[in-house]
């Protein structure tokens, strides 16, 4: 519990440092780097803060924390989440392929089409790898 609290506080501090750095150094660093610092910094701070508040609620109400833990580990909920992730991954993969075709139609830069195709192929390869791995494991 204490370790988690320290981790979340560290996340907030690092996030705020990143965001502050992007504001302080905005003239000295490229815009893209400033954007990355601000984006990742505010994201880290927000995640840290949310988790810290959740941790506080859980400490105050252990029964609620136990219910939440059961909800998260519930086998039906796990199955639903896995199915949703798998289907959304498939839909996204074919969406990326459609985007590749559309990018060709709109004469988009070559790297856009290439990136879409690489993403599609990578996902397919990862899927085959995982199928083989799970077949060995199960």
């Amino acid at each position: 519990m204490k370790g988690k609290k320290t981790l979340y506080i560290a996340l907030i501090v690092i996030g705020l440092c990143f965001a502050a750095a992007s504001l302080i150094l905005w003239e000295a660093i490229p815009n893209s780097l400033g954007g990355v610092l601000m984006g990742s910094g505010s994201g880290m701070a927000a995640i840290g803060l949310t988790r810290l508040l959740m941790l506080r609620l859980e400490t105050k109400d252990p029964a609620q924390a136990r219910r939440k833990e059961i909800e998260v580990n519930d086998e039906r909920n796990v199955a639903i989440r896995r199915r949703a992730k798998a289907l959304s991954g498939d839909v996204l993969q074919w969406g990326v392929m459609a985007a590749a075709w559309v990018s060709i139609g709109f004469d988009a830069p070559f790297w856009v089409t290439l990136a879409a195709i690489v993403t599609f192929v990578s996902k397919s390869l990862l899927e085959v790898y995982l199928v083989v791995r799970y077949q060995r494991e199960m």
Partner: protein, 67 residues
């Protein structure tokens, strides 16, 4: 797959929430099991069997589909 979960639960005067808490699953899972919308894992089936003190085949009724 059909089951007698609702019947067994009601016979013991339990609410879905109470059964869910005892088995460490969500109330929705109990509801889905009772409605036949969800088939449990073998582990949950054993938990149910032990909880009610009856064999699994007395809770879950497996009927082969006609070929």
């Amino acid at each position: 797959m059909k089951n007698r979960l609702e019947e067994l639960r009601k016979a013991r005067g339990l609410r879905q929430e109470e059964l869910a808490e005892a088995l460490e699953v969500s109330r929705q899972t109990i509801g889905s099991l009772e409605n036949g919308r969800y088939n449990p894992s073998i582990l949950l089936a054993f938990k149910l069997s032990r909880y009610f003190g009856v064999p699994i085949e007395e809770i879950f009724i497996y009927e082969e589909e006609p070929s």
